[in-house]
Symmetry: C2
Subunit: 419 residues, 2 copies
């Protein structure tokens, strides 16, 4: 064997040999805590209050199956071929109608990009706007998937405090001022204004324009992520921040919660002056979204009573949320607080200071219940005394049972704290 | 109106106001020339020798429609829900069988990530391995979509010369040496060894191991993109570079050419020691690939004679390639040369030096034929005397007609050069 080959084989055997090849950003790519728990959640007998999966059992699966059959049999050459990078015009038009139902008037298909879920739109936003070291502002707490995505671009994610009415405008202004004084470059405010994941908190109507105005004055784009906006339990959806601010807000919508996540489709409504680069970046990531699943969604929005289905979903989620809030009031010990969401999938629970919810997860799993520890939802590595409970995918009975299993664990943690 | 609001409105009116917010990499995100032409190609009457779309008309669309119906009706709660970030285990297992048919033995599902097309795997590879200024080596010419993706990460794409047997090992070694002497950090060799897009050239069997060995000695990973490998006109597929080099090659496969692009699914077979970060980065981009389209592909690989369909596709593409080569020999003027592919979708045409094929495109469109100018397939901004002709999506009659329309344009360009 030639010495060269020997050296080559030795190298091949060293599992750390290629570590030097990773990019700096690769070090920031973490296992999502939600995914950790996702794997655990499928154990039989466990009550999972962890994953924020939507309820799909009331979808008309037989009819949808026939629709898919028809699409492939009659328009298969289009459904199974490459499509355009912006997404299909038919669906982009329908997306404008969906947004009109959410309160965004006058959007046009030319400003819409269909994306491979909202996740992909978040990825592209970070890619198109952020250099390493740039700042993205976000709520504290915020969506773990967005954090993972942003950190993969070596972005500094800086949080802004919320109260029960969402982002606090004065805090936003103060944080921006501090960062600017340090010479930092702030590119985006990422916000989930309606039924924030994980907190369930909604940015109050009167704060929405204030927040956009602060960002506008400081040349910061708002990245408004609104997957749950139409899942308000009662009344009309709150007007998105995008509605009156077409030039300052990139609006992200998703079919995952109003239809089904398995189609992996969302959209971005992008200000005209930013559109071209945004959509080209989308194209560079996935070439095009799936025409097949786009056509299925288009058919769902055209031939089905999707608004009626949404109404029934809203009352189902309301019922589940009420079951959870009732059980929390009944079972949880004193010193524990939680949010009261007006929509969405999540309740955010705060334990007394000094308790770290991460180790509690393992006790909870032994007791047959799963949640997501609060630390997952902030960019900091500090322990968190919060946890997220999801009520979307679990029956009211299981919600009550899950809360019952969790309560003694919290009680023990609090008594150990006092001891 | 408050002065503040006035200022805000003035800013809102300025379309360049947010230009400062773009990342440095955004400047590298270009309109794909293929897409430019894609839009043109759909004009009626034009013969498009531009787009590399696969032939889908022989797919059993009625049966596939029924399969999709069954998936949604019977397993809709899984097909339409979120799935795992690595892709479904069933499909990852089947992918290993597909790769075995290509000559890669012993791959296991745990080393496979299902991706949203190969494009997404290319994006993730650049993201995980490349910092700005790092080098990716590639063939000259290479796939335009990969160039767009890599350049979006501020990577320096450096080309290595090919001859009719593919990448020239001495040239590869020389280029690496030069770059290393300049202190450059080379992360990946991106290669399409079988029926390279756009050139149709195949890396000869005896060079494959040489190329991997050179990369291994220099701690460069090979990113082997093999969408066309099974579309060899005659005989068995050439053994992929990954086959004997599991630790040094990230292998990318795609269902776009062996089944259908509309499902937007491909896969990456990743060395064990690199797998975790690779798949987490995939997850950060799209959360998960579509379970619905994954289940459709799994059913296609399980319940259909996909290998038989592939055999009929290979003879169809061979016939079309022969029609094109025959027409080129018949019609094209002296001084024009072209490749003779053993598989895939493309013939690469070289005109005499000094001719720029880009302006010829517009003359060609007027004459009713479209091709892709060669400049699209290199990272350089230099004019190119090459062009790509695709035979995959056009009937033999149309291929002959398209070549007939193109020939006089080349003849004129050559005579003007001599004048």
């Amino acid at each position: 064997m030639a010495a060269e080959t020997e050296v080559a084989l030795e190298r091949a055997a060293d599992p750390t040999r290629h570590d030097v090849l990773f990019s700096r950003r690769a070090a920031n790519i973490k296992q999502s805590a939600v995914r950790d728990v996702f794997d655990i959640s499928i154990r039989p007998g466990l009550v999972s209050l962890a994953g924020g999966s939507p309820y799909l059992k009331s979808l008309p699966l037989d009819d949808l199956g026939r629709t898919a059959q028809k699409i492939i049999a009659e328009r298969g050459l289009e459904a199974l071929q490459y499509g355009g990078g912006q997404g299909m015009e038919e669906l982009r038009g329908l997306v404008c109608e969906v947004m009109a139902a959410e309160g965004i008037e006058g959007a046009v298909p030319d400003d819409v990009v269909i994306t491979t879920g909202s996740q992909s739109a978040q990825d592209v936003a970070a890619k198109v706007f952020c250099d390493p070291g740039d700042v993205i502002l976000c709520e504290d707490p915020t969506y773990v998937g967005a954090l993972n995505t942003f950190e993969a671009y070596e972005v500094d994610v800086v949080t802004v405090a919320m109260d029960e009415n969402g982002l606090i405008p004065d805090e936003l202004e103060r944080t921006i001022g501090e960062l600017q004084a340090q010479g930092r470059s702030i590119k985006l405010l990422y916000t989930i204004p309606s039924f924030n994941n994980p907190s369930g908190i909604t940015l109050a109507a009167d704060r929405r324009q204030q927040v956009v105005d602060i960002c506008r004055r400081n040349d910061i784009l708002v990245l408004e992520d609104n997957p749950y906006g139409m899942l308000r339990f009662d009344g009309e959806p709150l007007k998105p921040m995008r509605a009156d601010n077409p030039d300052d807000v990139i609006y992200l919508g998703s079919f995952s919660k109003i239809f089904a996540p398995g189609v992996r489709l969302g959209w971005a409504l992008v200000p005209k002056h930013l559109y071209r680069r945004f959509y080209l970046a989308c194209e560079a990531v996935v070439l095009c979204p799936s025409p097949l699943t786009q056509m299925l969604v288009s058919a769902y929005l055209t031939d089905y009573d999707w608004q009626g289905h949404l109404r029934s979903m809203r009352s189902l989620y309301r019922e589940r949320c009420e079951a959870m809030l009732g059980a929390l009031a009944e079972e949880f010990p004193e010193g524990v607080h939680w949010t009261t969401p007006d929509g969405g999938f999540f309740v955010w629970v705060t334990l007394p200071e000094g308790i770290d919810t991460y180790p509690l997860l393992y006790t909870a799993i032994d007791a047959g219940v799963v949640f997501i520890p609060g630390a997952a939802f902030t960019p900091s590595d500090e322990p968190s005394n919060k946890l997220r409970l999801a009520f979307s995918a679990v029956t009211p009975e299981d919600i009550v049972e899950g809360v019952r299993r969790l309560a003694p664990i919290l009680r023990t943690a609090i008594s150990e704290l006092d001891a």
